[in-house]
């Protein structure tokens, strides 16, 4: 009996210690950040320092990352996040520190800037700054280009299998066609899909007029019988297997689908398209901002950029890299020749009230699809 009690006492002590040890670790890692910033102010050569890169998994080919370390001697500490929201929460908790360079989506960057978590860029430190395609600059999240450098853009295009679809699809409105019953796949984003209906009705993606959003909801209910699936991941597989015959997909999925089946048709909807832009920024208290500049400039080199976009499968935001992207990818990684910038409307942050209206419309639409 006594022995049993001893064992349980020891076990509970171990448990307690484990908890305490966990706390200790967290402290020491935050201290690590401070140390490296101290090194950086003393030593400008940056060699041997670390670049804390914070972005999604799989944003760069490994050879590009290795090439940077080889050339500059700066080690890369690649930290992943899964959602933009997680990134913002972590950056907020770190008070804009801990990370040197972040790549995330446009709308969350607007929020990060308004929360004072982003520092202004000095373009004179970027020798390849002029290579950026101006189409992707001056957008809502950074209208004066003070904070960000774009890294890839995506657009919600329609992709369809001409062997399964009888009509020629030219715009979003065609998805409402009766012949497409139970055979359309769409992405699971309320703003994009509600926005699609808004566009068909000739409205803006970003309207805050509740009655217009509700009208779009009514329009969507007419689309419901055609919807077979609503999801964000691997929609290309469903298109390739014939589960669906047309889809509204993200650029990276379009790339994968086209690589598998070149017969698929990619449509730039005639209603006008909304780009999503991913961009790089330096957090306000980045411990090693100089290394971040070095990395951004390296990525902006056209030959490096071309490698990145071929790997990433998103639209190339570096105009000097366009010509370097190999033939098989160029068709869907660079803008079409007849592209008109004035037709482009991005999805921007809107009022909470309008967002709630979107949410309601979206939930009703999804339930109606069943």
């Amino acid at each position: 009996m006594k022995r049993n009690k001893m064992i349980s006492l020891v076990l509970s002590a171990v448990l307690l210690l484990a908890v305490l040890a966990g706390c200790g670790e967290a402290e020491s890692s935050s201290k690590g950040g401070e140390v490296s910033s101290a090194v950086q102010t003393e030593d400008t050569s940056l060699k041997g320092s670390t670049l804390n890169l914070f972005t999604w998994e799989g944003m760069f080919p490994q050879e590009v990352l290795d090439g940077f370390t080889e050339e500059t001697g700066v080690k890369i500490n690649y930290v992943n996040f899964d959602f933009d929201e997680t990134m913002l929460a972590k950056l907020e908790a770190a008070g804009g520190g801990d990370y040197d360079l972040v790549i995330a989506d446009d709308y969350i960057i607007e929020t990060a800037i308004s929360e004072d978590l982003v520092q202004k860029l000095d373009p004179s430190k970027l020798s390849n700054y002029k290579s950026i395609n101006p189409v992707y600059q001056g957008q809502f999240f950074d209208p004066e280009d003070e904070y960000t450098v774009p890294y890839g853009a995506g657009v919600q295009t329609i992709v369809y299998d001409p062997s399964l679809v009888d009509l020629e699809i030219t715009g979003y409105a065609d998805l409402w066609d009766k012949s497409l019953e139970d055979s359309v796949g769409i992405i699971a984003s309320s703003r994009v899909i509600d926005g699609m209906a808004l566009k068909v009705l000739g409205e803006s993606y970003n309207t805050e007029d509740i009655s217009k959003i509700e009208a779009a909801g009514q329009k969507l209910l007419e689309l419901a019988p055609n919807i077979r699936l609503i999801k964000d991941d691997n929609t290309q597989d469903d298109l390739l297997s014939g589960e669906i015959s047309a889809a509204v997909m993200y650029t990276s999925q379009v790339t994968m689908a086209k690589m598998q089946n070149p017969e698929l048709k990619v449509v730039f909807p005639k209603e006008g398209i909304g780009f999503g832009i991913m961009a790089q920024f330096i957090p306000s208290n980045a411990p090693n901002a100089e290394a971040a500049y070095l990395f951004m400039d390296y990525i902006l080199r056209p030959e490096i950029s071309a490698k990145c976009y071929e790997f990433l499968g998103y639209y190339c935001t570096n105009k000097d890299a366009d010509a370097l992207i190999s033939e098989e990818y160029r068709e869907f990684l660079t803008l079409p020749e007849d592209f008109k910038a004035e037709k482009m409307e991005m999805i921007e942050n809107i009022s909470a009230e309008a967002l709630e209206a979107h949410e309601k419309v979206w939930t009703a639409f999804k339930s109606a699809c069943e």
Binding site: L9, R228, E243, E359, T363
Partner: protein, 291 residues
């Protein structure tokens, strides 16, 4: 005397120390989050990001919107459908499993356990391979000349129900089995000897004695099925909107955390109600055979 009391005191202190981690754990990781969630559900969402510390009842009012109320109904409907199917398949399974010889009991148990060695998510993707256009089911039906075109079952309501039943069936089987195993089959024989028909013997003896197992099986399938939103996601193509899906959407996409918290509180209240009804109905204080 006083020495004895001293000893008792010390023993009590020792016991308190050993259970302390459990209490700390429960307070920190169970009670804490629930309190946090309840507090959050009364706060106001900020314009684009985060939460404002302003009291409101708006989040609960939102739940009463027909669109959102429907997701609760949808969840209950799916939970009921799955539970009924799980009873129809799981009860006879568990009942007859208890009648097997010891060797076959072990083997059957093993076969039931093996799928649990793989992540439930991966097993769900297995169903996609079976259900998708040109998948295993299509090929089988075409080979049997039942159909010539794809049956297109993936991303439909029946696909979700199959996924739910598949995920929850073992819980019912184990609950019924543990109850049926304790059943003395000579009682059934006695009833038959005394002139009861097989049906009557089953209803008055077997069913009555295995009822606690059946009821705990119902709780173990019904309650989790209210929250298994990812099955509706993966096999239903997001078209079946359950409360769980709505909560996830509010948290991850709309950033309306207070509303998500209010929905969670409502879901928690609903499942607590079901647990309460179960206790009233069965008079059992814990989950027979499994706790």
């Amino acid at each position: 005397m006083s020495g004895n009391r001293e000893k008792k005191k010390r023993r009590l202190r020792g016991e308190a120390l050993t259970v302390l981690p459990l209490y700390v754990f429960t307070l920190l990781f169970v009670l804490g989050p629930i309190v946090y969630m309840i507090v959050l559900s009364f706060l106001t969402r900020a314009e684009t990001w985060g939460v404002l510390p302003e009291f409101t009842l708006q989040n609960y009012k939102n739940i009463a919107e027909p669109v959102y109320l429907e997701t609760f109904w949808e969840s209950i409907k799916l939970a009921l459908t799955s539970t009924v199917l799980v009873i129809l398949i799981g009860y006879p399974f568990g009942y007859f499993m208890a009648k097997l010889t010891a060797k076959w009991k072990k083997r059957t148990m093993m076969l039931l356990m093996i799928p649990f060695w793989t992540s439930s998510l991966i097993r769900l993707y297995g169903w996609i391979i079976i259900f998708r256009a040109g998948g295993i089911l299509d090929k089988l039906l075409m080979a049997l000349h039942v159909t010539e075109k794809s049956v297109k079952i993936l991303y439909t309501y029946p696909a979700v129900v199959v996924g739910m039943v598949y995920a929850l069936l073992p819980f019912m089987i184990f609950a019924v089995y543990s109850s049926a195993e304790k059943l003395d089959f000579s009682l059934v024989e006695a009833a038959r000897d005394l002139g009861a028909s097989p049906m009557k013997a089953f209803l008055t003896v077997s069913l009555k004695l295995t009822l606690p197992g059946l009821l705990s099986g119902v709780v173990l399938t019904f309650v989790p099925s209210m929250g298994l939103f990812f099955i509706a996601d993966i096999l239903g193509g997001n078209k079946v909107v359950l409360v769980g899906n709505l909560i996830q959407e509010q948290l991850m996409k709309t950033h309306n955390w207070p509303f998500a918290a209010a929905l969670s509180v409502a879901l928690l209240a609903l499942t607590s109600l079901f647990m309460f009804l179960y206790r009233k109905l069965s008079g059992v204080k814990d989950l027979e055979g499994l706790v």
